[in-house]
């Protein structure tokens, strides 16, 4: 059962990481323009 304690803590860590990643992505403007970035790969240079 003791592995469960570790898993609970690990889950909390992953949750924190996911929230941090989301907030960082939103603040970085990654959700503000879903169109331009999607076509960037098609640029020639």
């Amino acid at each position: 059962m003791s592995i469960a304690y570790l898993l609970v803590l690990l889950g909390l860590g992953v949750f924190g990481l996911a929230v941090w990643a989301l907030f960082w992505a939103v603040d970085d403007g990654q959700y503000s323009d879903l169109e331009r970035e999607g076509t960037r790969i098609l640029d020639e240079e």
């Binding site: 609970v8 909390l12 996911a18 907030f23 939103v26 403007g29 323009d33 169109e35 331009r36």
Partner: protein, 742 residues
């Protein structure tokens, strides 16, 4: 301050070894525009990074200072790419729109992640009996660590809203919502530390997730309409290539473009003003492939043929094309629509106001009910009082109720835009659904803009064709709108000499050595009288006709008419099938109105001619006094007051008509068929709103007694609340899909 320093101050440049600037580039419309700016700036030396956001039109550039590149060069490069750089005003640096979008997205995202993770931990406790107390406690603690930030970050707008309501001594829906959140959360925290008792963190997370989802949808809809207006204003190019007589082009400010100017629109660029395809120019293409998404919201390509009006704001998707400007920028459709949209966004729909009033009353009832339930359970079984009160508060959350109207109106606005009808006032949809009379202002709405000769009455011995040719020869030099009707009848051999025009009366000229007059009855007859000949004056011809005569008297009368628009008959028939009474109220001659009425099958009594704008106003007032709800369709140029006085009004979205009209709806395509479809859509919308309100009330009525009696656990209440909200949103989606309207 040097010129350079002044420039840098105006553009709020960060100076240093690495320089950085952010500004708006007007004219960015799509990812392609963003790409061309990035390309243009990146070719400059010492530029480290350039980033263009195609939604907010922000351009951000980083470069190494002190080298060959300076701010002026960057701005010139952006201008060279065809966009107009504009400095950001301090407040606009981070737009309100962007702040709200980001905050809302973070709240929603946190709630979603939190709900998933809380379920993971606390779901394990449901029905589990072999978990030891310390593990239960750990799960509770983990849930608390996750849900507490969810409550105070994602749920903050509701807590703040409730606080505002309480301190303002008002009652809104935020009050019971916040009460439910806090009374579920607080005891759960206490129970977690005590190690016994129920914990409801998962229900709190689920509740907040659905609340923020609702807010997020609502915000997206609002931003969509807001950004339409903003995008419309920004979408115009700053300059256009005007074609010179010799075939060369020159770049001019779009504001300098005058009606009649020919200009070139490259592929992917925006047609700046209302225009037509240039038929005279060296064009291989006579068909334009356009994207009218800015005007209609529909991003599919549209074909417009030679002669059709192309609205400013359309994007040329096909080959580069030459256009002739029809209107200057200020009078173009786009400029007018931007102004109208701004007005539309200020007004709140009546039905939404009603919903707010209902919500306030509803919130009060819930709180009273919660207190009563708490009191009764305290007497019967104090241990179950808490669960019952919590279930009542959650189950009655009027998410469904508050979503019912906005979701339906948003879907209806979208659907109407696809049909080519732009809603400029928020409550127009609701009022359109209730109309029972349609009043057409004949000019320009039921009939085409060009004229044709409908009938020729010959009074003398001359042949009909000969008379038509003479009239055409006289009219050739004239730019009166009627002249176009005669063009088709011109004969090369028949030429008029020494033609002079008497303003408002007609034309006089010599054809084959013979003097003719063409114009009003009196003007033409005067020629014969001047020769002491009693002119032949037929009594049964309407005064609206154009007469032709010589010294011997009147020779012919031409009835000039604007033909019916191709889809007028079908549209009117469809409107009548929908149970609407059709009335024609026109300033035109009785004969012209009678002709249109007959062609459309409108009873004679419902077709009025020779009405002044005041007469029309009186007619609408009269109809309204007799209890009818009037839908006025007019071209709006002189009829602003009439359009405003009608219950709901519609105008063709053409230039000056739009600018001066007080219309609630704009027809963006020139099709009248959109009218019956719009009526059908609005009726569907009203029905859906009623269904939604009915459904949410029924759900609450059914669920409240169960919750009050203690049969519903908090998580089941949160689930039921969510499902009822989802049902309402999905029901509203039916309008956008538009099963009934097509």
């Amino acid at each position: 301050m040097s010129a350079r320093a002044a420039l840098h101050a105006r553009w709020s440049l960060d100076e240093g070894a690495h320089e950085h600037v952010v500004f708006v580039a007007e004219g960015i419309r799509c990812a392609g525009c963003a790409r061309s700016i990035e390309r243009a700036v990146r070719t400059l030396p010492e530029v480290d990074a350039v980033h263009v956001n195609s939604v907010t039109a922000r351009v951000s550039v980083d470069w190494r200072g002190g080298g060959g590149t300076d701010l002026g060069g960057i701005l010139a490069a952006v201008e060279g790419a065809g966009f107009k750089p504009v400095p950001l005003a301090g407040e606009a640096a981070e737009s309100e729109y962007q702040r709200e979008h980001r905050a809302s997205l973070k709240r929603f995202g946190l709630a979603a992640l939190g709900m998933m993770q809380a379920m993971m931990y606390l779901g394990a406790l449901y029905g589990a009996s072999d978990i030891d107390a310390s593990m239960t406690r750990l799960m509770g603690l983990a849930g608390m660590i996750i849900v507490t930030p969810v409550l105070f970050y994602s749920g903050m707008p509701f807590l703040k809203g409730a606080w505002r309501d309480i301190t303002g001594r008002r009652l809104g829906m935020d009050v019971p919502v916040a009460a439910a959140l806090l009374i579920a959360w607080a005891p759960s925290v206490v129970n977690t530390f005590r190690g016994t008792g129920e914990i409801y963190f998962d229900s709190v997370a689920m509740f907040i997730f659905f609340l923020t989802a609702g807010r997020f949808i609502e915000m997206s809809v609002r931003h969509r309409s807001l950004s339409t207006g903003e995008a419309l204003g920004r979408s115009l190019p700053a300059s256009v290539s005007r074609l010179m007589a010799g075939g060369a082009t020159e770049k001019i400010d779009v504001r300098e473009l005058a009606p009649g100017d020919r200009f070139l629109v490259p592929k992917g660029a925006v047609v700046a003003v209302d225009a037509r395809i240039d038929a005279a120019g060296d064009v291989r293409e006579r068909v334009a492939l356009l994207d009218e998404a800015l005007l209609t919201g529909e991003s599919a390509a549209v074909t417009r043929r030679e002669g059709e009006l192309i609205r400013g704001g359309s994007v040329n998707l096909g080959a580069p094309l030459e256009f002739v400007a029809v209107k200057a920028l200020g009078q173009s459709t786009l400029a007018s629509i931007v102004a109208l949209l701004e007005r539309a966004q200020v007004a709140r729909p009546g039905i939404a106001r009603t919903a707010d009033r209902v919500a306030s009353w509803f919130a009060f009832s819930i709180l009273v009910l919660a207190v009563v339930v708490a009191g009764l359970w305290m007497v019967v079984d104090p241990s179950r009082a808490f669960v019952a009160v919590l279930a009542v508060l959650v189950v009655t959350c009027p998410c469904a109720l508050s979503l019912a109207t906005p979701a339906a109106l948003a879907a209806a606005t979208l659907r109407l835009a696809r049909l080519g009808v732009l809603v400029t006032r928020a409550d127009a949809v609701e009022r359109l659904a209730r109309v029972d009379t349609v009043v057409f202002d004949k000019t320009g709405t039921l009939t085409a803009t060009h004229t044709e000769i409908a009938q020729v009455r010959v009074f003398g011995a001359e042949h009909r064709e000969r008379l038509l040719a003479i009239a055409a020869a006289l009219e050739r030099a004239s730019d009166h709108p009627i002249a176009a009707a005669f063009t088709a009848h011109a004969e090369g051999a028949t030429v008029a000499h020494s033609v002079r025009e008497e303003a408002g009366l007609g034309l006089e000229g010599e054809v084959a050595g013979h003097v003719w007059r063409l114009g009003t009855r009196g003007f033409v007859a005067a020629l014969a009288r001047s020769q002491n000949v009693a002119p032949l004056v037929p009594a049964d011809v309407d005064d609206s006709a154009v007469f032709l005569g010589d010294a011997a008297g009147l020779a012919a009368a031409f009835e000039i008419r604007a033909p019916l628009r191709g889809d007028a008959r079908e549209a009117v028939a469809e409107l009548r099938r929908q149970g609407l009474r059709i009335v024609i109220a026109s300033g035109d001659s009785h004969a012209a109105v009678a002709y249109v009425a007959k062609a459309l099958g409108v009873p004679h009594s419902q077709a009025r001619g020779r009405l002044t704008p005041n007469d029309k106003l009186a007619l609408v007032a009269e109809l309204q006094a007799s209890g009818r709800r009037v839908f006025m369709v007019g071209d709006g140029i002189n009829d602003g007051p009439v359009l405003a006085s009608a219950d709901v009004s519609c105008a063709p979205g053409e230039g000056s008509a739009v600018a001066q009209s007080a219309a609630d709806l704009l027809l963006l395509h020139e099709g009248l068929r959109a009218l019956p479809r719009a009526v059908a859509t609005s009726r569907t919308t009203l029905r859906v709103i009623r269904q939604n309100l009915g459904w949410s009330f029924a759900y609450n009525l059914a669920a409240v007694p169960l919750a009050a009696l203690g049969f519903v656990s908090p998580w089941a209440a949160a689930l039921g609340m969510s499902l009822s909200s989802l049902g309402v949103v999905l029901n509203a989606r039916r309008i956008a899909l538009g099963g009934h309207a097509s």
